[in-house]
């Protein structure tokens, strides 16, 4: 009997062992070793550099086209070197996990990788990324990058871990036709959260068959749920997520609770979409590529890149999209100063620490992020450009089918996410709290308590604090 049980026991162990397999190659190369490798590599003349990036949803993939253009220019200048693009088919969260796993091992680490700036600090301090301080110092273009964006890809201790190539702001989209039918003012400038809620209620009452207010609340939509929904609310209260002066996470606060309560109200009152639409990794595409072009959404809290889907060669071409929908700033909770709020993030090109072709990788990044290439990408993708020379270019400012001018004006009151290496882990706890509250699984109080407990576990109780009143 014992033997059988042991056999069975060990077969489960075997199943569980799969988990640990990924960690076996977590050894890190020391800097000395790396420079040695690099020297060796340069004498053998490497021929291929790999560029890893995310690919998800329906084509066209502008990031791929952009990287391809840069690769062609690069290959013309650097004879005998090929750029191999390595698209990673994964949703946002899976992409972050996959590149982390890839960068753990020299045999899979790409040379150049696209990094979400919210993860860049964490990946930098995990030793996955190469600091680029010396490289950017001798690069004249670096002075063209706006100071705020440079901070986004720089660690607290000053290491530059990537060159930002896109940024964004967030706000409220509203459908002009639906607003007129509901008897709501156009143009619309809500002054506080209640104005938004009342508008949604009016839409529900007067315009049946449309989703009054769309905001991501699923764990499946990952960082979008944290940033487009929760942080757009929280940073409009008197509280924030992280006390940068004391280096502590604020795990319980009135603002946190009120943000959860507001989300609860929206879903409990039936002002949001159905759960099968929203708790889905494809929720963002359902929103921007299906429902909005059918004018089935009254108000949507989302990022400035959204009309990118409606471009002529986008996944859901809709030339009149930016007339049908307008973009307005998200108000603060009670309209307190500065009256509006927004969140900014963005993406950067980084070099993997285990890359054997660091110099070539840097040369590629310089080409990909020059004015022409970056402007092409940001205009097509509908992202804001982190380079000042692009932001001031009239061709960019007035690009058709985009809200670049309005969205850039949100930068006045925008916020950045905490530059703390634990942020990605904390962010997933926010997503869990938001989904639990939206689906009614937990009350806002319970969800905040659970969030507090989990964050204390992850970052250590001494690194957290509670704010009351």
């Amino acid at each position: 009997m014992k033997k059988r049980t042991v056999c069975i026991g060990s077969s489960i162990v075997l199943a569980c062992a799969g988990l640990s397999g990924c960690a076996t190659n977590s050894s890190h190369t020391s800097p000395a070793q790396t420079s040695h490798q690099q020297a060796a590599a340069s004498t053998t003349k490497p021929r291929v550099i790999t560029v890893a990036y995310q690919q998800f949803g329906n084509p066209p993939y502008f990031n791929q086209e952009w990287l391809q253009q840069a690769a062609q220019q690069f290959e013309k200048q650097y004879h005998g070197v090929t750029v191999k693009l390595e698209p990673i088919e994964a949703s946002e969260n899976d992409f972050y996990t996959k590149i982390d796993l890839m960068m753990k091992s020299a045999s899979t680490a790409p040379d150049v990788v696209t990094e979400d700036t919210f993860l860049i600090n964490a990946d930098g301090s995990a030793g996955y990324l190469q600091p680029l301080n010396a490289d950017v110092k001798s690069w004249p273009d670096w002075s063209e990058f706006s100071a705020a964006m440079k901070t986004g890809s720089t660690s607290n201790s000053g290491e530059v871990y990537g060159v930002p190539y896109s940024t964004d702001t967030r706000g409220l989209y509203y459908d002009v036709k639906i607003f007129k039918e509901a008897g709501l003012p156009v143009p619309w400038h809500p002054k506080n959260w209640n104005d938004v809620l009342n508008a949604a209620k009016k839409i529900k009452e007067k315009v049946p068959g449309v989703v009054p207010l769309w905001m991501q609340v699923g764990k499946a939509t990952g960082e979008a749920t944290t940033m487009q929904t929760f942080e757009m609310l929280l940073y409009g209260t008197h509280d924030t997520l992280y006390d940068a002066a004391k280096h502590k996470w604020i795990v319980q606060s009135p603002g946190f609770l009120n943000s959860l309560k507001w989300i609860q109200t929206v879903y409990a009152d039936g002002l949001g979409p159905s759960f099968s639409q929203i708790l889905n990794a494809q929720a963002g595409n359902i929103e921007s590529q299906q429902l909005m072009p059918q004018q089935k959404i009254g108000i949507a809290l989302d990022g400035n890149w959204l009309p990118g889907s409606w471009q002529k060669n986008g996944p859901a071409p809709w030339p009149d999209g930016t007339k049908a929908y307008q973009l307005t700033a998200m108000p603060t909770e009670f309209g307190q100063a500065p009256g509006y709020t927004s969140m900014s993030g963005g993406w950067a090109l980084s070099i993997s620490h285990l890359s054997q072709n660091k110099q070539l990788a840097w040369d590629f990044i310089k080409i990909a992020t020059d004015k022409k290439n970056m402007e092409w990408y940001d205009v097509h993708q509908g992202n804001l450009a982190p380079r000042k020379d692009i932001a001031n270019d009239p061709a960019y400012e007035n690009a058709p089918g985009q809200f670049f001018k309005v969205a850039t004006s949100f930068e006045k009151f925008t916020h950045f996410r905490p530059a703390n290496s634990q942020y990605p882990s904390v962010s997933t706890q926010i997503q869990a709290a938001v989904e639990a509250v939206a689906t009614g699984a937990l009350t806002p109080e319970q969800a905040m308590q659970q969030y507090a407990n989990n964050v204390q576990r992850i970052v250590g109780a001494s690194n957290t604090e509670t704010v009351s009143k």
């Binding site: 077969s11 569980c16 988990l19 640990s20 995990a126 499946a220 997933t428 869990a432 576990r457």
Partner: protein
């Protein structure tokens, strides 16, 4: 296990009187070495690492990824304070109880009994239908049931004939949905185990019980069930361990949601390790999963008083 048997037989040969025992011993070790090495590299080392990582703060990104520290029982302490962990233990037990112990086990036995002694054509027709669910890969089963349960899917279309309003089954009844999917997928296994077991019950005993006046039901409960006790225990253990590890089906149908309503331990382990980047904590959860499997196996053996 094959290695075990081999080791035993060579050991026995060693003791053959007059043989060149010493030489043979070394030769046996030489022959065993490759398999031992393979086992060590792919089995024992990962297990030991699992145990080790469960006691560290290993993470996929951030500072603790580079400076992994030994944290003692910290992971286990916070696990027992973590309400989501408690929820997922309960969800795991519910899923296990209804989809494996009750669903697959009872349905499998019922099918086997009903098919017993029937016409061959009938047996093979039904058998093929049931086994079709078993041979279908888990991810395909997930897609089939997604199509079946989703908004306006097969089930809703069927029910609309009776003027039932469409229901988003995967959101309204997520646990019931994944349980039904798992029963459909796994019942054939129990059915086959019991078909074999029922075939081994001697007809003479059943006949003499019938002559003694035992009815159909009495014969089944008093004669058949005690005689297939060993198969019940084995089957129970195997499907329990299989079901404890079900990940693909739940993850692709509901992703553990909505909320935590279908977050079983494997799902929670995956979320903690690969979505929340807490590899150490995830590994600790996998150890608990292992413990549950071992405890359940012991309970079955004790309950049925079976000697293996």
């Amino acid at each position: 296990m094959a290695v075990h048997a081999f080791a035993k037989s060579t050991g026995r040969r060693n003791r053959v009187p007059g043989g060149v025992g010493h030489h043979n011993g070394w030769r046996a070790i030489m022959f065993l070495l490759p398999s031992w090495l393979l086992l060590a590299v792919f089995f024992f080392v990962p297990i030991l690492l699992t145990f080790y990582f469960a006691f560290t703060n290993l993470s996929l990104t951030g500072t603790s990824s580079l400076a992994t520290k030994f944290v003692g029982f910290q992971n286990f302490v916070s696990m027992f304070q973590d309400p989501t962990f408690r929820i997922s233990v309960i969800k795991t037990i519910v899923f296990l109880l209804f989809s494996a112990v009750i669903g697959q086990q009872v349905l499998g036995l019922l099918l086997a009994v009903l098919m017993n002694e029937r016409h061959r054509l009938f047996r093979s027709a039904i058998g093929v239908l049931v086994i079709a669910g078993w041979v279908t890969p888990e991810i395909v089963v997930a897609f089939i049931f997604y199509a079946f349960f989703s908004d306006g899917g097969t089930l809703d279309t069927f029910l609309s004939v009776f003027h039932v309003q469409p229901i988003a089954w995967l959101y309204a009844f997520p646990m019931v949905s994944v349980i039904i999917a798992n029963i459909w997928h796994g019942t054939a296994f129990s059915m086959m185990v019991y078909q074999a077991a029922l075939g081994d019950v001697p007809k003479e005993i059943l006949e003499s019980a019938a002559i003694d006046g035992a009815g159909r039901f009495q014969r089944f409960v008093r004669v058949t069930l005690p005689m297939i006790k060993g198969s019940i225990a084995t089957n129970m253990m195997l499907i329990t361990l299989q079901t404890l590890g079900v990940f693909t089906l739940i993850y692709s149908l509901t992703g553990g949601g909505p909320g935590n309503r279908t977050t079983t331990l494997p799902i929670y382990m995956y979320q903690q390790a690969f979505s929340d980047y807490q590899l150490g904590y995830g590994t600790a959860i996998s150890l608990i999963l292992l413990m549950i499997g071992i405890v359940a196996s012991f309970v079955y053996l004790r309950m049925l008083k079976v000697k293996l």
